[in-house]
Amino acid sequence: MFYREAGDFKTSYREDSQTFPIKFDRWRFWAVLALAYGVVPIFINDYWANAVFVPFLIYSIAAIGLNILVGYAGQVSLGTGGFMAVGAYACYKLMTAFPEVSIFVHVLLAGGVTAAVGVLFGLPSLRIKGFYLAVATLAAQFFLVWLFNKVPWFYNYSASGQITAPSRQVIGFFVTGAQTTAVSKYLFCLVMLTIVAVLARNLTRGTVGRKWMAIRDMDIAAEIIGVNPLTTKMTAFMVSSFFIGIAGALFFAVYLGAAEVGEAFGIQKSFLILFMVIIGGLGSIFGSFAGAAFLVLLPVLLKNVLVGSLGWPTDLAAHIELMIVGGLIVVFLIAEPHGLAQLWRLTKEKLRLWPFPH
């Protein structure tokens, strides 16, 4: 009925190759943007911002970044936490060294630094494949965390070894530091996420994305038809690390405010974001959002039910939560190995035919 290409006539190449070819999708896209920019900031408060919205936005950025590497280019990485740490520490060093420059620029630059580090650790991917590569990226994870712990220059020789984000403003509103309001935090992350998502969506639709997918599906065959594995894999690592670096910078500066590297960017973070990508759906931008939302909301929900409603001790609730999360992941992989994005795809297929069954 309302969800199909028929009747939506395109008269130029530009229209023909737009991101959302179906009119309903375009409306939906603008509706979601309007909701996110117009409605949510009116109702948001500190609890919702800190417990749900800001982590969701930041994890979405990280998940998009990792999805490009794992889902589109097929290079499994377990070093996400380490790369997020690079983003965070780069942002911290830049913020303290150049206080007069806008934090907006710092966050992007932090992404750039992370991209460079990502390419460095991505180089072995030319030789090492599959699980060997996955384990090799753990080298990045452990080495980077150790580095930020042991070299005092990175945390400006502070006594606690922590990094603390100084107060910074964007167009007159505080986005980091103690005076930050929930709305400005939320909007700052939202702007970043919008940029990242639009960029990622268009990259994956174009030449670059097709090369990534060719390498993912079979690297030797791709090489034979003229895809350069060196540049393709390196761009995948670069773009992915750029996004992950931005996520790391935001996670530290906007969300946490102060961070200790082993705690905030440990191996658990790498797994968490990989889970988001897998549960959301490999090779799907929408899936990255869905996975991030799922894994941000689930612990909040469980905590509210177990501790809030049933009144169990917090340590017991934490262990049960671990069990439920683990169990759900297994159940999910059994029920739908292609993730939430696949459910979405199926829904769209059905919608195209609706109200007819076939």
């Binding site: 794992v70 030797i220 683990g326 992941i329």
Partner: protein, 328 residues
């Protein structure tokens, strides 16, 4: 001998012993990867779960005591018995076999012919689940594990080396026991896989799933078998590590120590797991001894990974792994 060399030798010996401990964990990985192509991240948690169960059974703890108390407001904690170590170990081994059956029935059966990354993720989910389950069943506090293994410095070795070189080597008794156990374990596994009927079936499955199926080998039975063996290896590793540093959450992190060992040795090779473990053990101890003080210490966290990474760049399938042949 000059003093520096003596120290280095001592560090190296300790590294060898630590390497054996890593190999114990890596063995479980290799067994499962060979037989089912599953990269089993849960191996470390299996070791933790086995150790927790062992301690719980030995001390007669009531399982799920914390939860029962929270729900019903009771105060149960212990049955009030002490099981002999041997009985407790046997019971724990049974529990691990039961766990293997459950894992096969509830998880693996439904994931046949999925992509390797999906299976890997499933084992991470499994690891989370088992970790939570272990904590809920037996409590998350640090427990002491004592099954009567000798601990502390070996005085014989100290006095012998003292009389020979004028410097007594410090070597832990437990490490020596671990080495002996590892040797026995590997020999037993080798004999089992070479000479028993089930062992042959196991090797056939490892070679080619479909060919094995076509000659009438039950894949599902082999999977249960292999997960049971991995559970048993995890139990041994859990006993060793648990005795060494107490039974606690960090025990599950030894899986992370075993990964570079696997990379170095090759995912599919049992000798690789042993040799890789020894190289990593010696390498990281020596590196921390010579280079560590210059760059701030605690290099053990990442050195193994870096070593494996650099090594793999030159030999992508590891030391003893099967040569990777790619066809279009």
């Amino acid at each position: 001998m000059p003093e520096q060399l003596l120290y280095a030798t001592e560090v190296m010996l300790n590294g060898l012993m630590a390497g054996v401990m890593y190999s114990l964990v890596a063995l479980g990985f290799v067994l499962i990867f060979k037989a089912s192509g599953i990269f089993n991240y849960a191996q470390g948690v299996l070791a933790l779960f086995a150790a927790l169960t062992l301690v719980g059974l030995q001390n007669g703890q009531v399982p799920f005591a914390h939860m029962i108390n929270a729900v019903f407001g009771t105060h149960v904690a212990e049955f009030g018995w002490q099981l002999p170590a041997v009985v407790a170990i046997a019971l724990t081994a049974l529990v691990m076999v039961g766990l293997a059956v459950l894992i096969e029935k509830l998880v693996l059966k439904h994931l046949v012919s999925q992509a390797p990354i999906i299976l890997f993720m499933a084992t991470i989910g499994l690891a989370y689940f088992l970790e939570g389950l272990g904590d809920v069943m037996w409590g998350a506090d640090i427990k002491k594990l004592d099954v009567g293994l000798p601990q502390g410095i070996s005085e014989t070795i100290e006095s012998v080396t003292d009389s020979l070189f004028g410097y007594g080597f410090f070597i832990d008794n437990l490490d020596i026991v671990a080495t002996v156990v590892a040797v026995v374990l590997v020999s037993a596994l080798t004999i089992f896989s070479q000479y028993s009927k089930q062992g042959r079936a196991l090797r056939a499955v490892a070679d080619d799933h479909q060919a094995a199926l076509s000659v009438g080998i039950s894949l599902r039975f082999i999977w249960v078998l292999v997960w049971s063996i991995a559970g048993f290896v995890a139990l041994v590793a859990g006993i060793m590590w648990g005795t060494k540093s107490g039974v606690q959450f960090s025990l599950s992190l030894i899986a992370l120590k075993a990964l570079p060992v696997l990379m170095l040795g090759g995912f599919t090779s049992i000798p690789g797991a042993i040799v890789g473990g020894l190289i990593i053990g010696v390498g990281e101890k020596l590196f921390d001894f010579f280079v560590g003080p210059m760059i701030g210490g605690a290099t053990e966290n990442w050195f193994a990974y870096m070593l494996a990474l650099i090594f793999l760049v030159f030999r992508p399938q590891g030391l003893f792994g099967e040569k990777i042949i790619e066809r279009v």
